[in-house]
Amino acid sequence: MNFSMFLQHFTNALGLGSMYGLIAIGYTMVYGILRLINFAHGDIFMLGAYFVFFATIQYKIPWALGLVIAVLGATACGLLVDRIAYRPLRDAPRISALISAIGVSFFIENASIVAFTGVPRNVIQPKLLMEPFALGTVRLIPLSLMVPVISFVLAAGLLWVIYRTKQGLAMRSISHDIETTRLMGVSVDKTIALTFAIGSALAAVAGIMWALRYPKVEPLMGMMPGFKAFIAAVFGGVGSVAGAMLGGLSLGFIEIMSVAFFPKLSGYRDAFAFVLLIVILLVKPTGLLGEKLEDKI
């Protein structure tokens, strides 16, 4: 492998990893606050991709507007999921909410098969993003640079929201102690809804970039990236936004580089994430940047 090939793999890994990171942020925020694995998150990612497909290719809406519609649509779906399937179970045992999450994920997947048919559809990539240019010895398309840049800007913006605004303070407060936060006059349900909205919007952005990068949409496309992003969230440390990005990037690099250096392993590519999960849970269950979540007795 020569250096320019390595750089090619490097940009691929950076793109894949930052998309994992964006999805992982949604998992990590919801888990940090509700201690709930939002299984439907990967399906919100899928919906984002489908919405942009329908808006721009089926209904010929201009790209810029289509993107906004897709993000808003997916955000609305995320809010709806929280309102219908999770909020009635706030005081139930956590496992019940988890089963509800599995049910929702199952529902969105099958409803999408009914609504969009199970046939994968091709996404037409805008020419502007695909015009290759040379950077030293590497040939790149603008898209593969845009993906990590957008992801990092969004993640940085989110960090600002969490650490510099009142809403962010409320989120952090809920993740520490939900009851006390309620007593302080914070509207807990609204803050949780905001968390779902942010997570879903980021997942939708990731879904759109995914659909452009691997130009195809299908109803089950959210499943694997969803699981992997959750693993990335655990790897980085559940509850930490920076950890989610770090975990996503690590996972992206592990997947791309191990296949790049050992092409024979390509069939096992999807297994790496799960092996990584089991290893991290054994070695450092709190993840790279996570704080210890204490068990309440």
Binding site: I99, G103, F106, N110, V114, Y268, A271, L277, L281
Partner: protein, 356 residues
């Protein structure tokens, strides 16, 4: 008082034996009474009940949220199929890669292969339980899901042993009503005896309050490993039976959806209830088949009913059902209760009392 209780015990045992015998007579007659489709559904009910019971042991009784059932079923299905297939079938099937030579001659009769399937699945269960059972709650769920997915990817890629993505075809349809219900009966008997034994109490103690159980001197970790391994044994047996009724298996059969299916049976029936798993299996299996009608166009007069006739619709309805159950009736059909003759009798006498 104790004489009355003794008489009741004799009566209950008598009724149980009577019920089993009459059900056996029904099964004996079933091939004459029912068509092949209905027989197949009856077989699936028994297999799903075995799977439900095994997941219920892990999740309902021992409180370990496992999402790995599909992987252990896959191990069982493949082990059983590989033991049953003849060398001639095997050489004809492996076209991507030649079959591993040691595997070619391995052969075992059906029932032995089922046992081997259970043991193999139990071995894998034991293997993964060592590291992951130290985790609690949903982390355990996601780790077992991951392990199940790893098993599936291994099966897809280890072509010399598993024939890779092509799967195995031409497995003889050994599973018939006698076999499936016979094994279900054994499973039921073992589960009931297990839960009534001291080990059953220990399992429940660990589930309800691990700290307290540990204070009482229970080795909680060992208890969970044992319960998990036994549950995986059941998953392997169920997977093997399933392979022997569908007659073809491939890795795509054993995705997370397979686990969800079993999870629904356990949740709808009632977590921690043996009766519930059987009831849940009947409900889920029959309903999944019955719901097929929504995937055919439904005509009202000359117009087609909105959304009818779309493939995938029954799973939409089914997932809504699961969400509904968990939101509105979290304890499922049976809750933690079990069926007993005494309760049945007192139920009927109460009804009569109300009527009078």
């Amino acid at each position: 008082m104790s004489a009355e209780r003794g008489a009741k015990k004799v009566r209950n045992r008598f009724l149980t034996v009577l019920a089993i015998i009459s059900f056996a007579v029904f099964l004996q007659q079933a091939p004459n009474l029912l068509d092949g489709y209905k027989i197949r559904i009856m077989n699936m009910i028994a297999i799903n009940a075995i799977l439900g019971l095994s997941l219920n042991l892990i999740y309902g009784m021992a409180g370990m949220f496992s999402l790995g059932h599909a992987g252990f079923m896959a191990v069982g299905a493949y082990v059983s199929a590989l033991l049953i297939l003849t060398p001639a079938q095997k050489t004809a099937m492996w076209i991507l890669d030649p079959i591993a030579p040691w595997l070619l001659g391995v052969h075992a009769p059906f029932l032995i292969s089922i046992l081997a399937a259970g043991l193999a699945a139990a071995f894998f269960g034991w293997l993964i339980s060592m590291p992951v059972l130290r985790l609690g709650g949903d982390y355990l769920g996601i780790a077992t899901l991951g392990f199940s997915e790893i098993l599936r990817i291994l099966i897809t890629n280890l072509t010399p042993i598993t024939n890779g993505p092509l799967g195995l075809k031409g497995i003889p349809a050994h599973t018939n009503l006698r076999v499936s219900y016979g094994i279900l009966l054994v499973t039921l008997f073992c589960t009931v005896r297990l839960m009534k034994s001291n080990f059953g109490n220990v399992i429940k103690a660990v589930r309800d309050d691990e700290t307290a159980a540990r204070t009482m001197g229970i080795n909680t970790f060992q208890t969970r490993v044992l319960a998990f391994t036994i549950g995986c044994f059941g998953a392997g047996v169920g997977g093997a039976l399933m392979g022997n009724i569908i007659t073809t298996i491939d890795p795509r059969m054993f995705t997370i959806n397979q686990t969800y299916n079993t999870l629904m049976i356990v949740v709808i029936g009632g977590l921690g209830s043996i009766t519930g798993s059987v009831v849940g299996s009947v409900l889920v299996t029959v309903m999944l088949e019955w719901l097929r009608f929504v995937e055919n166009p439904i005509m009202i007069g000359s117009t087609q009913l909105f959304l009818s006739g779309k493939p995938g619709m029954r799973m939409v309805i089914f997932s809504l059902l699961l969400i509904g159950v968990i939101i509105f009736r979290r304890e499922g059909v049976m809750g933690m209760k079990e069926f007993s003759w005494d309760r049945l009798f007192s139920f009927f006498s109460r009804q009569r009392g109300d009527a009078a």
